[in-house]
Symmetry: C3
Subunit: 261 residues, 3 copies
């Protein structure tokens, strides 16, 4: 197919852009100054990489675009806007029209769905999965292997509008189902599950299920059985491995070998 | 006005694209291989049609772009992304920056609002209306004359993340109000009404109103009166006809004549 | 930096477009006929300004694009679509991929976040702040100094689908937290606070806090203390001034001087 791979002639490329071997830059995509893209990465059409921060509008003379780094083997789908001053690890993949602002630190093998809005100044671990339209406020911390589903919001302002920002922390392997809101300063515990449409204002204990508005503890995750075969589903790494480092190995075997390293 | 109709010189057109008479393709729009567009259809600016599926990234040599078909007399507003491998009926109309992935089968005279995200591998009937920002998961079935309002999610995974997908079914003439979530495997019955901000985990009986988190049955649809004139509002086809096939005819008269065919 | 300021050569400009001194129009942006842009305004890349209304598709011969006016010193971030027939005051600022349809009247120094969807035929005052992904239905009235957070919906149809539209009114200084829905015809009172994930079906009294699904009054705003220092937070203008006309002056002093004018 034409117009999919390589540097498209309609792309607009700034100064001091470093493209690794075999990088694709799609039609009408704009790459501003000081963007570093790892080998084999595919940038779709209509993207903007290294979008300047707001400081450029107040003092263009002294403005210097911060570095945006995108790891090797990544796939940035069309319409995505990545600000200058963030760092994305290897194997990053995103849907369409994602926005990631400055100061985001994102690990390796992360996937972020269409229309998600990462406000920047946040930490996202490795193998994190965001479905479409996830909103992550400043100062959020999302650890490895977390799953977040559509229209979830991680808030940060306990009494808006204010200058007090208390980020949300989501611990390893936690799952937050669609349309849930996590209030400022809340910790969502390791291996926990937040049900759909929850409004979570208190910390979620590890390995518990919370649900409702406001959210309350409704079960242990160990109580949930598969609707396909009746077996235990959670902690999910023991029943799901697609795209995870334990794929084809089994979580416990992988963990034991990994921990032994 | 300039720059609105015709094939804009900045459009990028692939191989084996079949454009019907009088088709418009807007500025900076990209049409990939094997797209078929019916006569009189208008494609806005900054669109992507026939976006390749993910398979292209793993094996470009053997990849062949599936056909995308858009029916005649359609209006695809700017910024919309339609994947290869879907089929949209005649008179399709959508807002801006809609995403429709592969394997979507969409009937005729459907309207889908700005920023809606149709995940593909789903069935959508005729004369369906989605307002802005509706999210439709894989395996959803939405039948004819259904209305869905902003930020509604049709889910599919009963214990995320898993490989068990149970789609939602929305029956004819059902209405789902804004910010509601329909849990996996639920059937929303014919002529029913789901109130705003509902979290629906059980089937909704035909001709009932459900509301709340979790949603409960709160009324029969026949109990709801117009705030304009106090008359019965539901089933809505008897009080609303704009854009519907019974416009200017009356629903019962149209139905009787249609059923007699 | 290149490619940020000035009229980019890839921009497509229509007839009768009036650009004030020092206006920037970004790469691949389309400006249709009859757009008026005030001095010093920056239009990002991939925008569409003066998008024609739907009438153009039914009768292109007689269609004349209504005027779109953007005030001086504004910042329209990339990917934004502004319809013909709206008016935006000076100092307007928006995020990425905002949509504002025809018939919107927007005051000065307003900020609207990424992906927000303003349906048009609405009134928005001065110094209003919308965060990302706010949905404003037709006939909404949002007065000065209102704050609305992500995924809030201002609805308008009391029994959808119908031809009865009852807009929401949000009074001065009111705050609506994330994921809340305001039902048709509701008035959100001056200085009030709507908690996150609320479903508001009754008027909100001034200076009260409502929360829940359905929302109930839970406190006076005067009861809420800062998590940073324990002081009263609301009415918020007395504790927050960034970007407001009383910045560096103090709200009461500013108000007294302003009221004396």
């Amino acid at each position: 197919m034409k117009n999919v791979f390589g540097i498209h002639p309609t792309a607009v490329i700034g100064d001091n852009v470093r493209l690794g071997d075999g990088v694709t830059v799609g039609a009408h995509t704009i790459v501003y100054d000081n963007v570093v893209i790892g080998a084999g990465t595919v940038i779709g059409a209509h993207c903007i990489l290294g979008e300047p921060n707001v400081a450029i509008y107040s003092d263009v003379e002294s403005y210097r675009n911060p570095v945006l780094t995108i790891g090797e083997g990544s796939l940035i789908r069309s319409g995505t806007i990545l600000y200058a001053g963030s760092e994305l690890g290897a194997g990053f993949e995103c849907g369409h029209r994602v926005t990631i602002r400055e100061g985001a630190s994102i690990g390796h093998h992360v996937r972020i769905g269409t229309l998600s809005d990462i406000q920047g100044h946040c930490e996202i671990g490795n193998y994190v999965r965001f479905h479409s339209n996830v909103h992550v406020g400043h100062k959020s911390t999302v650890k490895d292997y977390v799953w977040i589903f559509p229209y979830v919001v991680l808030t940060n302002d306990p009494h808006p509008p204010s200058e007090t920002l208390l980020g949300v922390t989501v611990e390893e392997f936690a799952v937050i189902a669609t349309m849930s809101v996590i209030l400022p300063g809340v910790t969502v515990g390791r291996n926990s599950l937040v049900g759909a449409s929850s409004m979570v204002r208190k910390d979620v204990e590890p390995e518990t299920v919370v649900a409702g508005n406001p959210a309350k503890t409704v079960a242990s995750i160990h109580d949930i059985k598969s609707r396909a075969d009746g077996t235990a589903v959670y902690p999910w790494p023991e029943s799901f491995d697609r795209g995870m480092p334990w794929q084809g190995i089994g979580f416990k075997k992988w963990r034991d070998s990994a921990e032994s390293q």
